[in-house]
Symmetry: C2
Subunit: 111 residues, 2 copies
């Protein structure tokens, strides 16, 4: 899983500062669009567009509540990113251990 396009979408989504701010607010508490827009220095349509990007990236999900749409964190996209980074993390540990070993100076850091 975690195909390349999904990863690209997730990284691209979190690259934008405003979008990352929206993501963090949604993660801390499920919120409606207008609620988010009220606390942010951008217009409501802008927030709506950002939420679409986050949704396409699998980082948030939406549920309807009357005329409002409540957005909340989606663990799926998060797991993809985590797994992806973990792969490199392993490699870096190996490379680092190898380099450290060569200097007779063992330094291990884990989790």
């Amino acid at each position: 899983m975690t195909d390349q396009t999904a990863l690209a979408r997730a990284f691209t989504a979190l690259a934008d500062p405003t979008r990352r701010e929206i993501f963090e607010r949604v993660a801390s508490r499920a919120q409606a669009v207008g609620e988010l827009a009220g606390d942010l220095p951008v217009s409501r349509p802008a927030v709506s567009q950002h939420l679409k990007v986050l949704s396409d990236a699998g980082l948030v999900t939406a549920r309807a509540d009357g005329t409002r749409r409540i957005y909340e964190l989606d663990p799926q996209g998060l797991a993809g990113l985590r797994d992806y980074l973990d792969g490199f993390w392993q490699r870096s540990l190996h490379a680092f251990a190898r380099a450290a070993e060569q200097h007779h100076q063992s330094r291990q850091e884990n989790r």
Copy 2:
């Protein structure tokens, strides 16, 4: 504690497909600039610019070898991203456990 600007740089760096490709190649094996450019459909200066972005993000480091510059993976930026995502991961686990606990009796108070 991985400040905000460092995170932004890391996400921005990995958002671009070409740059992520370069990052992955460097992660798999330490390589020189020309070596990377030879296997990629972009010019050498482009690779150089991408490496600068990755370097500023703390994702790769460079060491000199004669006239060549060997780039390799830097665990530092990787750790920052991992820690950041882990924070949300915890939250998502809690939320998910809470949601699963009460099957579909979920009705949250809003506004």
